[in-house]
Structure formats: C-alpha cells, structure tokens
C-alpha cells in the first residue's frame, strides 16, 4: 500500500448559491504525478486553493501530508510548494535574487540557499543569466525557474496551477523533464492542465466537470473505460454534459 499524502472527503466550496466544487473525494499517493483536469470554470483552481490553504472549504474534510486543512494550515504551508497560474516570480529581481528571496521566505539557511542556487542555476543552464532581471528571460525559462523555486525547500507536495500556459511544445517537454526529476526525488506533483498531451504524462488523472469529479484513473485505464483512442476523446466524452459555460 502506497502512502497517501493528499486525502479529501466530500470537499465542497460554495460561493453564495454557486457550488464551485461539489463534494470531491480522492486520494493522492506519495511521489505520484497527479493530473487535475477539467474545462475552464470546472472548479479546478478552487479545489487547489482549498488544498493549499488559500481558501477555506464550505464543508468536507481534507488532509495534506497528514495535516488537517482547517487546523494545521501553518504546518501544511511548510510542506507544500505552489506555482500559480500567473507567473509567480518577481520580474524586476534578478534570477539569483529571486532564488535567494524565496529560499529566505521558506526559512532556508544562507548555506542552503547558496548550495541550492548554485545547483539550480547549473541545472537550468542559467549561469550567464543569473545576474539578469527575470523579466528579460523568455517565458519558457521563467516557468522552469518558477517551478524550481517552488520546490526549493524540498516540499512533500507541489501544486502547479496550469504551469505551462502559453509555452511551446519543446519547452513544455523540458518542463515535464523537470517535473519527472522532482517526482523521482519523491516530491508529489499535483498539476492542473488544459493540454491533453500533458495528461498522458501523469500517473493518474482526475476529471472535473461542473464542480464534480467525474473520473479518476490512470490515462490508460481511462482510455479503455471510455473506449477512446486518446485523452482528447476521453475529455470530450466527459465534458460533453457540462452545463457551465467556459469563462
């Protein structure tokens, strides 16, 4: 039996009459890449925000790395990394300043920050650019850097909210190499995406439709279940019944 790092039970968030996520129940295992799919407005971001402690659930239970999302938010924060939908580094800071800043925010020692930043700059091949402002880097590099910074404190879980939006396929592939590398180190990846080719890279994927979780399985099994040739078809099959308009 694998270790469970995320466990939710009927997790629900309502905004007035509108139910953004409706009683979702699932488990995520340690070290896996968990894809969180759904159309725009299906409730992915809301669900993710609840898991990160950015948003308080209306009802339901959840534990992250063994900590309760109502009571232990501070402990959860120390154990997770987060990369937001919008680009989440400071454009007017240099590469090295960004790394140092986020290392400092996560309470790493000067020694650790130095080792980490040397390693990161080496890994991403940013030696020449380390003193350049992040704003001057191409988008793909920025996003790889943002991901590396999000896991600078070796969290148990990292949440990625549409990390590869607007990036070309080659860079996306490189980005996923970084994700695999992190996953191999035992970091659990929780990722939302629109791209169905990326869904294939995940160990398991879940599908959100109108705030409910309609499916949860490995890509191979899902294709089998829905008798589909690709994840695209699975997605269409599931999303067809969606009542919410994409925003």
């Amino acid at each position: 039996m694998q270790n469970v790092v995320i466990k939710t039970d009927k997790l629900t968030k309502k905004f007035g009459d509108f139910t953004a996520t409706d009683a979702i129940t699932f488990e995520v295992y340690e070290g896996e890449i968990f894809g969180f799919l759904g159309a725009n407005g299906a409730g992915k971001t809301t669900a993710m925000r609840m898991l990160c402690g950015l948003s308080t659930p209306t009802s339901g239970e959840a534990t992250i790395a063994g900590f309760d999302i109502y009571k232990d938010t501070e402990k959860i924060k120390a154990n997770i990394g987060y990369m937001s939908q919008k680009f989440s580094l400071y454009e007017d800071l240099t590469v090295i300043e960004n790394i140092r800043f986020f290392g400092g925010v996560y309470g790493l020692s000067d020694q650790e920050i130095k080792e980490k930043s040397d390693h990161l700059i080496d890994l991403l091949g940013l030696k020449e650019e380390s003193k350049k402002l992040v704003g001057s880097l191409p988008l793909g590099w920025k996003q790889k850097l943002a991901f590396s910074v999000a896991i600078i404190h070796d969290p148990k879980i990292v949440f990625l909210d549409e990390p590869t939006g607007g990036v070309d396929p080659v860079t996306r592939r490189q980005f996923w190499d970084l994700i695999y590398e992190a996953s191999n180190r035992g970091i659990t990846i929780f990722v939302t995406t629109h791209y169905m080719d990326e869904a294939e890279y995940c160990n398991r994927i879940s599908m959100m439709v109108d705030g409910e979780m309609k499916a949860l399985d490995t890509p191979t099994n899902l294709k089998k279940t829905y008798n589909a040739a690709s994840m695209d078809e699975v997605f269409f099959e599931l999303a067809r019944g969606a009542k919410r308009q994409a925003d």
Binding site: F15, R49, C52, G53, L54, S55, T56, E74, K77, A78, I80, Y82, M83, S84, Q85, K86, F87, S88, L89, Y90, E91, D92, L93, E97, R100, F101, F102, G104, V105, Y106, G107, L133, A150, F159
Partner: protein, 368 residues
C-alpha cells in the same frame, strides 16, 4: 526575523529598480518646495497701477512717489481721464488706479480731510483686496509722517509685532503643508500600489501559500516607504531652513516622532486601499482622489479652514494631515513642546490606531 530582512531587502530592490517611480519620489518634494516657494505665492509683487493726478500738488506727488517706490506696485505712465482708465482696465493692462481729485493738498490742509479714489479690478476679489490694503498701508504711513510733522496734542501709534514670522513669509505656511502632502501622498500611494502589484502579478498567492506570516508581508512592505519618507522629510526640512530661511525653533526629536506618526497613519491607509482593490490603476485613483485632494483642501495651507462653511470644517477634522500641520507649525515655527500639541497628537494616534485596526482586520489571509 531573518525572513523579515529577506523580505525588506526584496522591497528595497523593487523601489530602486523602478527608476521612474524613484525619480518621482525624490523629485516630488523638491518640486513642491520650489513651486510653492517661488512660483505660487500669496504675496503680490509688481502689480501694474496708474495714478490719475488732477491735483498735482506736493501731497499727491509725494504719495505717488511712495506708491512707485513700493515693491508691490509698478507705476504705469500716468493716464489722464477716467475714460482712459476704464479702457486700461478692460484691456487688463492695469490692476489698480489711484485718483487724486483737484485741490488734494489744500483740502487736506484746510479741512483736515481729503478724499482719494482707489479703483481696483475686482474680477479677482482676493487680489483686489490685497492691493487696496497695500494702498491703505502706504496712505497710513504718509499720514503718520505728516502727523509727526505737525505735532498734534495726542495720537495713537500702533506698534505692530508679527509674532513667529516677522517678515510675513508665506513659507511658514506652506512648508509644513508640503511636508504633510508629500508624506501622505508617498505613503498612501506607494504602499497601496506595491501591495496591489503583488496581487496583480500573482505573487501574493505564492506568498500566502508560503509559511511566511502574512502580516509580516505587509509590515516589510511598509519599511522602505517609511525610510524614504523620513529621507524626503529631511530634504524638505533642509531646503526650507537653508533655502527659505525658515526657523526651526522646537525639538527635532519631537518633530520626527510626530512625522513618523503621520507616516504610519498614511501607510495604514495605503494598506486599507490595497485591501479593497485588485488593480494598480484603481488603487492609484483612490489614493490620488481620496487622499491628495482632501489633503490639499483640508490641511489648511492652501485655504484657511476657519473661512470654510461649517460642514467643510467638520469634514476637515477627519483629515490626518490637518492635525499634523498644526503640530509641525507649532514645533517648527513657534518652538512649542509636547505639552502644547498633546491634543493634536492624541487625535493623530487615535486615527492611526483606527486605520491600522481596520486595515489589519480587512486584510485577507485567505483569498476567499
């Protein structure tokens, strides 16, 4: 604590990387002082006047000379008729006309009273008032001299002392006002913008997910602007002392302590604004419309609050800079100590506490 310094250092990077804003931050107080000090002043100098002298006797000539000699007036060529005066006023080439009737001196000698007509362009009522006052003063001077010559049995000679500001410099009024304006503007505007920018960029989410205490996020954002404001305050102070020749009578320590109080009040207002909006533009608009205009109007350095109608006077009480203005004037110009300004200080402390309480209460640790 180390996390806090990491954060403050990052905020300083933001401030110093943004050259345009930085230029504005340092340029603003200097520009304001120069503007209010040299360009915009209540004193009227070299106003164009004409003298119509139907008398042309010793008395009228002497008064005319006095008018011509004063800084306030610049004597235009003497026109002759009333009609020409009217035409000159219409064209706007003169602001004031002084008319001596015929027999001015002999009336004065024979009847101990003579009349003189002063015509002012009252399309700008304030200016007209000021100019006629100048003429009155010159006439009074002249009378005084004549009275001295003739040795009347008794006379009242007012001895006027202008306390605290013997030269009647406008600077004593506007320098404390500019201080208040600059502090409020920089602190409210810059804090609100810098917090909202994090929201816009999505970095606020990342910070809120991190174990870093959200309240420290806010406090460390305020630190650079606090430092900058103190620096600006010092620049204004030095400029006003060495450029404008203003005195500094009171305690420097008290002055900086009271200024820090206003800065904290302004910073918490900026925080309050940033809580209620998600876009930098809106934050800027609220800060400018909501802070700059009331500060200009109700601080008292541009328009005297005593002359305002009751409702506006009441409103002026909720503007923090009004109280700061009173405090700074008391310290700088009058050299008063804390005992004289404790009431204003208490009001300012109360406001600051209120703003801080509300803004911290409203600050969203979670997004929804």
């Amino acid at each position: 604590m180390k996390q806090f310094f990491t954060f403050v250092r990052k905020e300083f990077y933001h401030v110093f990387r943004d050259r345009k804003t930085l230029l504005m931050l340092f340029g603003l107080p200097i520009a304001q002082i120069l503007l209010f000090g040299f360009a915009l002043t209540n004193e009227i100098k070299d106003s164009k006047i004409v003298v119509v002298d139907y008398a042309n006797d010793p008395a009228s000539r002497e008064i005319t000379q006095k008018l011509a000699a004063s800084d306030q007036f610049e004597l235009q060529s003497s026109l002759m008729s009333h009609r020409e005066i009217e035409a000159a006023f219409r064209k706007g080439v003169v602001n004031l006309a002084v008319v001596f009737p015929a027999n001015f001196n002999s009336d004065l000698l024979a009847q101990n009273s003579a009349q003189i007509q002063v015509i002012a362009d009252a399309s700008d009522p304030n200016k007209a008032n000021t100019l006629t006052n100048y003429v009155n003063n010159i006439l009074r001077d002249y009378q005084q001299e004549r009275v001295n010559e003739t040795q009347l049995p008794y006379q009242i000679q007012p001895e006027i002392r202008m306390l605290y500001n013997p030269e009647l410099k406008g600077a004593t009024n506007f320098v404390p006002g500019v201080m208040a304006l600059v502090l409020v503007l920089i602190c409210v505007l810059m804090t609100s913008i810098s917090i909202v920018r994090e929201k816009e960029n999505g970095t606020m989410e990342v910070l809120l997910v991190s174990p870093f205490n959200p309240f420290l996020v806010i406090i460390s954002k305020a630190v650079p602007y606090f430092v900058l404001s103190l620096f600006n305050l010092t620049v204004i102070l030095l400029m006003s002392i060495f450029f404008m020749g203003l005195p500094f009578e009171g305690s420097l320590l008290l002055f900086y302590a009271e200024s820090s109080l206003l800065i904290i009040a302004a910073l918490s207002l900026g925080l309050l604004i940033s809580n209620s909006t998600d876009s930098q533009q809106t934050a800027m608009l609220i800060a400018l419309m909501g802070m700059m205009i009331p500060t200009m109007l109700f601080t008292g350095f541009m328009f005297p609050i005593e002359n305002m109608p009751m409702p506006l006077r009441i409103i002026s009480n909720v503007v923090p800079s009004k109280w700061y203005y009173i405090i700074v004037k008391s310290i700088m110009i009058k050299g008063l100590g804390f005992s004289a300004i404790w009431k204003e200080t208490l009001i300012l402390v109360g406001m600051t506490a209120f703003f801080l309480f509300v803004s911290f209460k409203k600050f969203k640790i979670r997004l929804a």
